[in-house]
């Protein structure tokens, strides 16, 4: 042991003598290639499915982006937030306001180019997260979770009362996103691909997919590298994190801000998909849905957040579509067991079951299955 001590000199790290973790590096690369290849069929989906199906996928992908941000905050950093819906709302409304027609009847807008508006909206949600840092930096875990409820209720109040900007109870319209005259969430100019008309939803599918890929890549990098390691230790032992040189308060504020950027991005895409936004969507229930996605997927797992986001968004929409053929479901609003209610039961039960039986969620389950095979 002591013979190695002599070549261990303090100071600059030395280059490797031999590549370490060589085999797992190769496996890693193969997995990456497989993942990228799996995007090909996803890119072909709009050729085969019509808009009413695509919208489910678009909303699912948009939500998954928000869930990724939340899983970093709650899972990686151990900071609970129930305010995710607030930051989703900031993104959605900031976009709608910035891109909105200044002359639009009753509801104001800045009339900015929509691509710029989208950027502004994402920055705005990040800023909103940053503004909350006097609180988010000082509170820990569950305590932050309950404190963040304030944002949900105050946000809801603002959405309903700042009528000139938000449209109040009645909501406001969302302008389509276009880059250089080409709409990414609308139908102009006409576009045909392999004989299939590419309207707003077909185009938005690609936008959502692209942003989702970016979000996955960025978040995985965070989780695997310096910031993620600091967050993990901060979660497991804040005192130790401090002694390793991690400025714990700054990191708490930073990860909160970072996750609100993801929420804001989800908000912009959600708004584009809905084309019209109302405050009744951005409630505590939405925050809880986001939390459900990250739990089902496995706290701290980026892939799990994507799976959870798609599942939680798609289930009620799919059930609703199949209400007719599923004999046991009542029509929505009839007072019987309808699609929304059934999926709420499912989510509640899943939350409880996952946390009781496998707090690691899907991520741990799939890891275990892979190991067994």
């Amino acid at each position: 042991m002591s013979e190695t001590a002599t070549d261990l000199l303090p100071g600059e790290p030395k280059p490797a003598r031999r590549p370490v973790l060589n085999t797992s590096g190769r496996v890693e690369r193969l997995r990456k290639i497989a993942l990228w290849l799996s995007l090909l069929p996803l890119a072909a989906v709009p050729l085969y499915l019509d808009g009413s199906w695509l919208i489910i996928g678009i909303l699912g992908m948009a939500t998954a982006i928000g869930a990724i941000g939340l899983t970093l905050l709650v899972g990686t950093a151990g900071q609970l937030s129930l305010a995710h819906s607030f930051f989703v709302a900031v993104g959605a409304y900031a976009y709608a306001y910035a891109a909105g027609d200044p002359a639009g009847g009753g509801v104001e807008g800045l009339g900015l180019p929509s691509a710029l508006a989208a950027l502004i909206a994402i920055v705005a949600s990040g800023l909103a997260g940053l503004l909350f840092s006097p609180v988010s930096a000082r509170l820990k875990g569950v305590y932050l979770g309950v404190a963040s409820l304030a944002l949900v209720f105050i946000g809801d109040h603002v959405l309903k009362n700042a009528t000139p900007v938000t449209g109040g109870y009645n909501g406001r319209e969302v302008a389509p996103l276009s880059v250089g005259g080409f709409e990414l969430s609308g139908g102009s100019p006409d576009l045909w691909v392999l004989g299939v008309p590419y309207g707003g939803r077909e185009r938005l599918w690609y936008l959502a997919l692209a942003v989702l890929v970016l979000a996955v890549v960025a978040a995985s990098r965070i989780a695997r590298n310096r910031p993620g390691r600091a967050l993990q230790l901060m979660r497991d032992n804040p005192a130790a994190a401090g002694s390793m040189g991690v400025p714990v308060q700054r990191y708490k504020a930073a990860v909160f801000t970072y996750s609100s950027v993801f929420a804001g991005t989800a908000g912009v895409l959600t708004a584009l998909a809905f084309e019209f936004i109302v405050p009744q969507y951005f409630t505590l229930e939405l925050s809880i849905s986001y939390l459900t996605m990250t739990i089902i997927g496995g706290l701290g797992s980026v892939a799990g957040a994507v799976a959870g986001g798609l599942f939680v968004t798609a289930l009620p929409l799919l059930l609703e579509r199949f209400t007719g053929s599923l004999g046991f479901l009542a029509a929505p609003g009839s007072g019987g067991l309808d699609a929304a209610m059934l999926s709420r039961f499912a989510f509640g039960a899943l939350l409880v079951l996952v946390l009781i039986c496998e707090p690691g969620g899907l991520a741990v389950l799939s890891r275990r299955l892979r190991r067994r095979s």
Binding site: V135, G145, I295, F345, L355
Partner: protein, 294 residues
């Protein structure tokens, strides 16, 4: 006179919130979990009271409701302790799951109806100190004061209370001293549930029209109360409850002059106060500052 009336109304509303907040804190002290299903438990209790009251009378129905809410809380506690983790974040999230289940079922059952308790006070009012107050609120205040006094008496003076406080302050040592943590946990949840139901009954009474399916959210008004007072302080819960009640009533009562803050600002005002308190004292007015023990 209007100011005094609002203040008294606010204090009486605050005493109801104090009951909910005290329940939160009891559960938190007993098990370090923030019971996010508290609202649904409150509504479960109130639902049972509303269903039974026309048949068996108010008092019997109220007793049954309190028992139902306590049992509901115990069920949540059992689920929480079935989890294979002691991570409070995970356990608190679990109670959110329970809340989703309960709230969905209750929403389904209650539908569009409004739950009324059949309480003896009805909409009668009484004149006190030159102000007119609903009798239900006077009753609420009296009952809350009694319950809170009893709670503190038990908590500070009895053997059981000592055991509860001991395991709240230092669970390991308490366990070494032979204190049965499970019984302490069950008791604190049962108390929390029972208190929530009592609060629910009074929240449904005059001048409120009754409870609808969203009433579970009202219990969330106790969240600013416990954060203002300090999550681990029973005295703080009472103080926080009163602050929230008074704030809300004063803002609602002056709605016309506060119109620029938007419609229904009263329900949001407690959260604003909470944020201000957090900026000033992150662990609340009476909460103890948490030291990272290394």
């Amino acid at each position: 006179m209007k100011a005094l009336q609002l203040l008294l109304l606010g204090l009486s509303l605050g005493s109801i919130y104090s009951l909910i907040a005290l329940g939160f804190v009891a559960i938190y002290k007993g098990t370090k979990v923030i019971n996010m299903a508290h609202g649904s438990i409150l509504l479960t209790g109130a639902y049972v009271v509303a269903m039974l009251s026309p048949h068996v009378g108010f008092l019997a129905a109220a007793a049954a409701g309190v028992v139902a809410a306590a049992v509901g809380a115990i069920v949540v506690e059992r689920l929480v302790s079935a989890a294979r983790t002691t991570d409070h974040l995970v356990l608190t999230t679990l109670t959110i799951g329970v809340d989703v289940l309960l709230a969905t079922e209750l929403t389904h059952r209650i539908g569009s109806s409004v739950l009324t308790m059949g309480d003896p006070w009805k909409d009668r009012q009484t004149e006190i100190m030159g102000t007119v107050l609903p009798q239900a609120r006077i009753g609420a205040t009296a009952v809350s004061v009694l319950i809170i006094a009893a709670f503190f008496l038990v908590f500070h003076k009895t053997n059981f209370g000592v055991r509860m406080r001991a395991s709240a302050d230092d669970p390991r040592t308490a366990a070494l001293m032979g204190i049965d943590q499970r019984r302490v946990a069950l008791a604190s949840w049962a108390i929390g549930g029972g208190l929530a139901c009592v609060a629910g009954i009074f929240l449904a009474a005059f001048p409120n029209p009754g409870l609808d399916q969203t009433a579970g959210l009202i219990a969330l008004n106790a969240i600013p109360a416990i954060i203002i007072g300090g999550l681990d302080s029973t005295e703080g819960a009472v103080l926080g409850g009163l602050i929230v009640g008074v704030t809300q009533t004063l803002v609602d009562g002056n709605a016309s002059s506060l119109h620029f803050l938007g419609e229904g600002f009263g329900t949001v005002a407690p959260y604003v106060v909470m944020l201000l308190v957090l900026l000033w004292r992150p662990s609340g007015l009476l909460g103890s500052k948490e030291l990272n023990r290394v």
